[in-house]
Symmetry: C2
Subunit: 425 residues, 2 copies
């Protein structure tokens, strides 16, 4: 290395990720210095909970007072890993105003208040980096921002929530039904005691808002993302899907359609040959399609303190090595696109419904579908006493037509339960 | 964007990749300017073959004289996509000496003469970028150099040759034997008329030399890589492997073992659940393992003019946005590690051999294996008249012990043909 560059870091939060960042920088300090010329020094750590302060901490490093970091002119970069959207926002705002570049792992913050933070970063010419906010150790932000420059991305599919992928993988393997596997996942620490953000799709939605913003250079906030979770997916649905050659995954889908953006999260059937179908357990993956690149997929650990810390560290070193020309500093949203109406989107669907087991019922349902322009690609019918269970896969159709057809099917006297519907990717 | 930066490019070569770079910059010029503030201008193109010059080329852009590029002080970046290791070397050397940063897609050049070029780049403080040299559009170089900074990589497995992966995928699907599928691949343009570099493993070896150098920060040249091709893999081998739950792939394996480096290329059996097993057709993929990251995989198109051009363009923009601190400028090999002797490496093996079909023969072979400390994990035996075909998978063992055992097996009078052996990953 020709020249060493000391980078002094203020770390906000010493939970799972914060302590991993601290330890990783300690452990890899010399390798990073040898490899990049950057001499990383964590000089201050903000942590309110004094029980978390490690015994080997040098005196004066840990503080409960943010101003000790904000007002220390020797600190170059502030790393925010406290989570939440209130204090985190206040701290990042103040840090940038006081001359610091910032790194955050906070997806909820970026997906809800990203615009204000990115605007501030642009105005003040600060770096705002966020590799760790989506998909943990997978460097999807860097790849999309720096390597997909000429890719003309039009589609981003993500398996960006490890908890739901773990649950769905176990359901696919026939290891139990949803409530049972969720309980096991909670026991093993793969799911939170309050699992709603994960199983309900909100966590994935925040991440997809970030990925959608980067992919299409147009701001997507959490409130722009329609999302559904996996709570209503049964082991039986998963098994039927498997019989038909599909895997059920919680999919984030960001698409550019006719110059408009659509970002959604829902459980969906994927053909078993799809690269995302092979992503099992708590792994994350992001699948990119673009005119110039065809398709590219990245997969890896989507969570965990140490893997996520590697993303934070790469952001820090990246800031130290980037010229101040605007591009990698802050926001990549240089345009403002409209959103595509959800019910105008096209999708194929999986339907499971119980009907009276008598002749003519199938014809009746087929007629309803036909009226709405929905055509059936494959069908399983199983007798069960007086009732038959129908499982259908449709060809792609406008969603509003499909749901109009389903509304009519559910009102048929021969329809015996609430039809279960899932999209097919 | 706060400020625009004009980047003037001299392009060496107007073949498949060169013309794709030219067209991609033309097509994406405004998007790149909006997204990055970089105003890309291809001002000179070196091409000896005047028939390749497009009719819409502006006068004075195409030249057959390299000095028009080297001696033009307004050119910032020289992009080398002519291939070969002689002129390409001379041109890159001269371009750097004349003040230009350089981008190359030339794996053979880097794997054979990389050290001299990287040393020159370091001494002159020039950027030497090479994203397109390995795995086409997959941004594996950027990810390894910039995102895996704290990953402590110890293993890199690559499917980095699309031709062989295409052939092996078709063999796996039972579409024919090796010569037949190779002929079809040649017909369809998936394989060269002279396919040796691809099917013999040399192309993959050059790429793995590059990936190994980056992963372990220690120079690996092509001559350090032991490589084998897929010419001797039969449809029957692939079918037996499939029956045992494996997929056969041409694998590049770069490993750091006890502080020493091993880089090799060979056809190997992968468990069907391995993420690399799902990489089909002409796709490439690189699978990274490291202490801090667990495992990460990238997959995508490994070749093709336009996908490869996206990698070249991202290199150009990356140069325009990187501070001159040494780290991303040139070589990442800051240490010099020894190589691990191949025959000391451990591997599991697949063996297929014909033997006399009489009692005692299996015991004889098992005894030979036992003497050399090779233990059998699974076995298929099929009678065929006077002969039986044995297919075995061993547990991992030192390769020299395994090959000593095989040498002894082949000399047994009951052994009827040359044993076929393949490694198991």
């Amino acid at each position: 290395m020709s020249r060493e560059m000391v980078v002094r870091i203020g770390l906000l939060g010493f939970g799972t990720i914060g302590s991993s960042v601290y330890r990783l920088i300690e452990k890899e300090h010399d390798n990073i210095l040898d490899g990049t010329g950057v001499d990383l020094q964590v000089v201050k750590v903000l942590e309110q909970d004094s029980r978390k302060i490690p015994q080997d901490a040098a005196p004066g490093v840990f503080t409960a007072d943010f101003s000790e970091i904000a007002d220390d002119p020797s600190i170059d970069i502030v790393v925010e890993v406290i989570g939440g959207t209130d204090w985190a926002y206040t701290f990042l705002d103040e840090a940038m105003r006081k001359g610091k570049n910032v790194v955050t792992a906070n997806k909820q913050l970026l997906a809800s208040k990203g615009r204000a933070l990115f605007d501030l970063a642009r105005d003040l010419r600060r770096h705002l980096r966020f590799e760790a906010s989506v998909a943990g150790a997978i460097p999807i932000i860097k790849v999309m921002r720096e390597s997909m420059i000429a890719a003309e991305l039009h589609t981003v599919y993500g398996i960006v929530n490890g908890t739901t992928n773990y649950i769905l993988t176990r359901m696919y393997n026939g290891e139990g039904d949803y409530p049972e596997i969720l309980a096991k996942a909670q026991e093993l620490g793969y799911a939170e005691a309050e699992p709603t953000a994960d199983v309900g799709g909100g966590d994935a939605a925040a991440k997809m808002a970030i990925l959608g913003s980067i992919a299409f250079h147009s701001r997507v906030t959490l409130s722009d993302v329609a999302y559904e979770g996996i709570q209503d997916v049964s082991q039986e649905d998963v098994r039927y899907a498997k019989d038909l050659g599909f895997v059920v995954k919680l999919i984030g889908a960001a698409r550019l359609v006719d110059g408009r953006v659509s970002v959604r999260v829902y459980p969906a059937l994927l053909p078993q040959e799809h690269p995302l179908a092979a992503i099992s357990g708590s792994h994350n993956a992001v699948f990119l399609q673009g005119e110039s690149i065809g398709e590219i997929m990245l997969m890896g650990p989507g969570a965990g303190g140490v893997p996520t810390a590697t993303a934070v560290v790469s952001d820090i070193v990246s800031i130290a090595n980037t010229k101040d020309v605007g591009f990698l500093q802050s926001c990549s949203c240089y345009r403002s696109l409209d959103f595509y109406p959800a019910d105008e989107m096209e999708s194929a669907f999986f339907i499971k419904v119980n009907v009276e087991d008598r002749s003519g019922v199938l014809a009746q349902i087929a007629a309803v579908f036909g009226t709405h322009g929905v055509s059936v690609a494959s069908l399983i019918q199983k007798g069960q006493g007086d009732e038959a269970e129908l499982v259908l896969i449709t060809h792609p159709t406008k969603e509003k037509n499909f749901f109009a057809a389903i509304e009519q099917v559910r009102r048929l006297p021969s329809c015996k339960n609430e039809p279960m519907t899932l999209r097919v990717l």
